[in-house]
Symmetry: C2
Subunit: 149 residues, 2 copies
DNA sequence: TTAAATAGGACTAAAATAGTACTCATTGAA
DNA sequence: TTCAATGAGTACTATTTTAGTCCTATTTAA
């Protein structure tokens, strides 16, 4: 199904909430209450996002989390990367170590092509795009020729 | 990691072999020998591909499998779809039933946008592209601006 | 010093995936 | 007409991945 993990989905929910008041510091507990995601899970996600420098954290009492930069500069790719590791469709794309497909691996280079295209797509969409309230019509148009493929 | 399942990867290995002699009928056992993938697994994959009309099967002695159409007309999207079901990044994209993110679901519509873009990408690449022996240089170029995002 | 936070890691449970096995249906050829 | 080769369909088991929780340490404001 080529799907994102639940945690990545949660991450966007959390981030979109944080976009709304970017200047405020948000504690994990507060975010948990607002989003309805269990607090330990929220913490786990926030920690991963800090590690990937999508968020900045402030420790100690009255501490919390902040966006590390403007929403326009946080790509969907970086969020997915933070939660799930490198974006790679196949094992071979991620690393060539212990690649056992002796006879099949000729084709593997080709996944790189698809992988790169998807990566470009994910890097072209930012958090700011994700929270826009209205869809831009042109974005969802599909070339009619696709329907006959 | 946004990855494809192993079976999908195997499927492309199998299909790329079949592209090489498209007119020949290939038995599951033969394919297993050539690719090194265990025979029951090969059968499982072939059955799924037939069900999705990517392959055509001929039953009985001297039976086997054939590509259902020219490699140019078999998209990567259709292969992924055959192996993993509908391409949808989030549960919500796949179906809106039992969507529990009451407060978070405003953002969910936005995944549709990303999802559609990825779908377009996967539909623009065919099996024929996957087996091309040489990389087209322009395909792997990245706009330099990406590096500073 | 204490309370409220984050950091980091370990652990458990649940879900998805991979892989196997078994039985039935079809077909070509002896 | 029977047998052997082959695909169809389904159910099951094992493995791996993911989700979710918990515990302990560290930091900092009051």
């Amino acid at each position: 199904m080529l799907k994102l993990s639940k945690l990545t989905d949660y991450a966007t929910v959390i981030l979109s909430y944080m976009v709304k008041d970017q200047t405020d510091l948000h504690a994990a507990q507060e975010i948990s209450k607002v989003t309805g995601i269990a607090q330990p899970t929220v913490s786990k996600i926030l920690k991963l996002l800090v590690k990937a420098r999508v968020l900045t954290s402030i420790r100690g009492a009255k501490g919390g989390y902040l966006l590390a930069r403007a929403p326009e500069r946080i790509t969907v790719a970086s969020v997915i990367n933070a939660m799930e590791g490198p974006i790679a469709l196949t094992e071979c794309s991620a690393s060539h170590k212990d690649c056992g497909h002796t006879s099949g691996c000729e084709i593997q280079g080709r996944w790189e092509l698809v992988n790169q295209k998807i990566l470009n797509t994910l890097e072209s969409v930012t958090l700011a795009d994700m929270v826009l309230p209205v869809k831009q019509p042109e974005e969802v148009l599909i070339p009619i020729s696709r329907l006959y493929k």
